[in-house]
Every structure is written in C-alpha cells, then in structure tokens.
Amino acid sequence: MDMNVLIAVMVILPIASALFLNLLHKKDRTIKIIAIITAIVLPIIPLLTPYGSHFFGGYVPLAQDPSLAQGLPALITGSQLFQFHLGIMYVFSSAKQLMIFILGLITFFAIFTFINESKRPSGVYAFLMFMGTASVSAILLSDDIFNLFVFFEIAALAQVGIVIASGIKNNYETALKYILLGNIAGPLLLLGIVMLLGITGNVNVTDMIFTLKNGYVNPQSPELLIALALIVFGWLYASGLPPFHTIKSAVYSKALPHGSALLQAFSVFTMVAIGIIIIRLFSYNPFTNIAIIGISLIAMILGITMAIVQTDYKRILGYLAVGELGYIGIGLGLGTAFGITAGLFQAVNEAVITAFLFIGFGTILYKTRISDTRKLGGMMYVNPKVALLVLLAGLAMAGVPPLNAFQSKLMLIQASIQSGLPELGIIMILLSIVTFMTFMKAFYTIYMRPKPKELEVLDNTIPRSTVISLVVFLIVCLTLGLFPEIATNSLQTLAAGLV
C-alpha cells in the first residue's frame, strides 16, 4: 500500500495558503512574506515527492487491502467491485512531476513579480493565483473525472477572478463573457462525465478503462460517443481552442502581465490533463485522434492568422498562445508514443515561453500604461536589457535553436512525418515562420521604430524582480533547449503508457 501524503499537499498547500492570505487583510508585510514562502515551496514539493498514488480517506481498492474485504459477501468479493477504486485517487508520475514543477515555477515568478510591482499586495489577487494553481495541479493529478470537473470549475472561477482583479478597462465585460460561456461548457462537460458514469458505473478513469477494455460495455454505443463529444467540448473551453479562442485571448489581454502569464499556464496544463484523459479513454476509436488533429489545426490557423491582424500587443500574445496550443494538440492527436512525447514537451516549453513573453512585454505596460502598438515606439532606448530578453523570448517561441521550442517543434515535425502526415509538418513550419513574423512586427513597432511624440514614458524603474524572472525563464529555455532529455525522459513513460 503506497500512501503518499505529499501528493495531496501539492493541492492542499496552495489552497490553505490562499485562504489564509485572504484573512490577513491590509497586513501587507505579512502577506508578502507568506505568499513568497508558499510560492517558493510550490515548485519544490513535486521534486521531493516520490512517485505513487494517494487515496483520499484511505480507501484503497479492496484487492489491495484484504483486511477491508473480510466478512463481505461473495456478491462483492467475487465481482469486479473487488478491483475498483472506492475513493478519489491522485496519481503522481515523472511526467506530472515535471509539469507541476513548471506550473509551480511560473506561479512563483507570477507571485514574485506581482508582490514587487504592486505597492499594496493585500486583497484577493494572490488568493486567486494560488487557488488557480491548486486547481490546475489537482486537474493534473486526479484520476477521478468528477474531481477533475470540480477543479475545472474552481479554475474557471479563479481565472475570472484574476481578470476582475486586474482593473484594466472593460475587464468586467470580458470576465462576464468568459463565465457565461463557461456556464454552457461546464454543465455539458458534466453531462458527458455522468453519461460515462451511467455507462460504466464509475468515475475513476482507470476503472472506466478497465470496463471498456474488458467488454463490460459496448465501446460503440451511442451514449458513449455522445459522452465523448461532450467531454471534448468541455476540453475546448478549458484550453481555449476554437470556438473559445476569441474569449480566451480576450481574457489574457484583460489580465495584468503576471496574471496572463499564469492564466496561459493554466490553459496549457488543463489542456494536457484533459487531453490525456480523452486519449486514455477513447484512443480505441480512430476518430478521436482525427478530431483532435482537426481541432488543433483550426486552432493553429485561426489563432496565428488572427494574431497577425491585431494591434494590441497583449491580444497578439493571447492569440499566439492559443495558436501554439495547436502544436500540443497535434502531438497528442498523432497518437504515437513519440508524437505524444513531443506534444507534452511542447506544452512544457510553451508554458514557460509564453509566461516569459507576457512578463517581458508587461514591462511596457509598467512603463507606459499603454498596450496599443500603434501608440508605442522607441522603447529600446528606455531599457535595452529587457528588450534583448523579450527578443530572445520571441526567438524561443518561433523555435530558433538552441532554445527549447526548437527541440519540441523538431520532434513534432519528425513525429508527423513518421505517422505519414508530412503535411502537418509543413503547416507547422509555415506557421512558425508566421509566428516569428508576427512577433517581430510587434517587437519592431514597440522597441525599434522612432518614439512617437505623444508617448510619455513614466520614470518608474522596472523592478529588479521582473528582470530576475525573465533571466530565470531564459535559463529554463536554454537548459531545456540544450538538454531536452531532461524533459523528454520523464515525459516518455506517460506517453508510452497511452499508446
């Protein structure tokens, strides 16, 4: 019996800290200290936790603990009930370790820059950030699909909260739109989940796969297919794939830079977590992979073409972030172990790079309070060091060696050729070039062209913490780019288990 309390701590600690921070109203100093300590601990816990599973309430399957099964009638011990997981189960493996570590790292830098950029850290902002991180960690860990749904809703509320707390113009409208659309997608996702429950009698993914694989239910039954469709629909909302790409990019553009950096990490990891569950449950069905690839292609094409025509740099980044999700989806949809590894690796890279870009471009907002590229220019002279870091982030996103996205995009292209779909590789290369062009257009108008006369640059200096965050993100990008084995080795086991 492998009970592993630290697995639960990954979710409980940020929730507890969030609730505690909310109690300390106006005590700015204490809040700063507690928030920073929690944020430092967050990426460390997954590194210390041994792999295994955690059963809430100690309800291990009867088969694992015969003493529990004593005195039960043959009706239970003789049937499959004996094997089933009775309580909520969290599973922790090497791939989840890497993803939760990266999520913790991004949370740390989001909190770190927020604490240093804002004069008064009291309020709900840090609470919402920790709540979001806790729920996305739970989504990654949970093997129980209803538990996943509960945290999906909490994550959605936390994201809405981060947008409301930003204080940017028209943020309330965007938040309301996001939550209204979420109120269509959420119940329908639940409907899909309970249809699965009705068919298989379970909400535990491992048990559902057991019933599906062993012929207890008809895998081609219409109810099952509709359940799959509804779960895919919920997945689109959670990750911001089309038709939710417009609202998701609007949400990114209405949050503060550290908020957006965190929000996109939530989307990326939620997409991966639910995507993995969809593949685990339904990969017997060839149409699932076709649908995932199709949706990803639409996301890539719409996201990146829409990014080109935007003028607000936060919106450009928002659409690019949505477009990059398509790369992950293609990796997952290819269905081969190599393809899924590449997709997961791309997810890790994208989370880091987009956070890097959001915080990097966030310095412009800090210095000028303007996010319209048409009103900006000449920022290179204001702070050349930050400009260089932002440029490197853009190069990383486009997939320039030796940075990390180069490795994952190369793997994705190889995987698509191996699967007999070289067209996907060509589209990915084409869209990478366009991504780079879009980024360079924004970079040129903000940093390199002559400064417009009306532009006023505030004389506040960019906090050192922001620059440190950017440098650390760059180091992560370089490390993963030069030594991709660090990531791919731990992702491979998960990918191999899915095929």
């Binding site: 965007t174 309301l176 739109k177 209204l180 659309l181 269509i184 997608a185 329908l188 081609q220 219409p222 297919l225 509709i226 799959l228 469709a229 509804l230 895919v232 629909f233 689109l236 089309p242 038709p243 939710f244 790409h245 417009t246 609202i247 609007a250 069905n285 060839p286 149409f287 076709i290 649908a291 292609l297 890539m300 094409i301 719409l302 990146i304 073409t305 829409m306 080109i308 025509v309 007999g420 779909l421 067209e423 996907l424 060509i426 589209i427 084409l430 869209l431 366009v434 062009m437 257009k441």
Partner: protein, 112 residues
C-alpha cells in the same frame, strides 16, 4: 492599377460595408495580406491530407477550395469580423460548434 492597389481597395470596400472608420494604412493592408496568404496556404496544405481517404476526392476538394478562395478574396477581413468579442456572436459559434462536434463524433465513429 497595381495588384497592391486592388487589394487595398478591396479591404477598404469591405470595411466601408461594415461601417468601420479605421483608416486603411500600409501596415493594415500588408498584415491583412500576410494573414490572407497564411490562411490560404495552410488550408490548402491541410486539404492535401484528404488523400488518405481518397486521392480523387482530394483533387476535387483542392480545386473547389481554389475556386472558392479566388472568388471570395479577401477572406481575412471578413473572418476577422466574424471572430469579434461580441457575446451573442461568440455564443452563436459556441452552440454551432457544440452541434457540429456532437454530430461529427456520432456520425464519425460509426462510419470511420
């Protein structure tokens, strides 16, 4: 009149129809053009994958898309207007997507 002016005029015409008063600058025209070309190129390459179902179907689809593209150009300004931030618009596409996904999964699984 050069080809560039033709494109500029087309974009201006569509914007006038939509009642947008933004001026059509060089930057808007060239970004629209880039987006347009990216869109067409990626869609055409993606359609080539239909060859896995049937090569003849692929040829027909590529030809059809080429014809549609050349008659409907420029697509990007219209596509951009469709993907706006209006709630009713978003809600419409969300419900349409829901219908399409359920129908496709139901039909696709029974027929693929």
């Amino acid at each position: 009149m050069s080809f560039y002016d033709v494109i500029l005029n087309k974009i201006r015409k569509i914007q006038e129809k939509a009642g947008e008063d933004e001026p059509v600058t060089n930057v808007t025209a060239s970004t629209m053009l880039t987006a347009e070309l990216t869109l067409i190129a990626s869609v055409l390459i993606a359609v080539v994958m239909v060859r896995l179902i049937h090569p003849v179907l692929m040829i027909i689809m590529v030809a059809a898309i080429l014809i549609i593209v050349f008659t409907a150009m420029p697509i990007m300004p219209r596509l951009r207007r469709e993907q706006n931030d209006d709630l009713n618009n978003m809600m419409f596409y969300v419900v349409v997507a829901l219908g399409v996904i359920v129908a496709l999964f139901y039909w696709g699984n029974l027929n693929v």
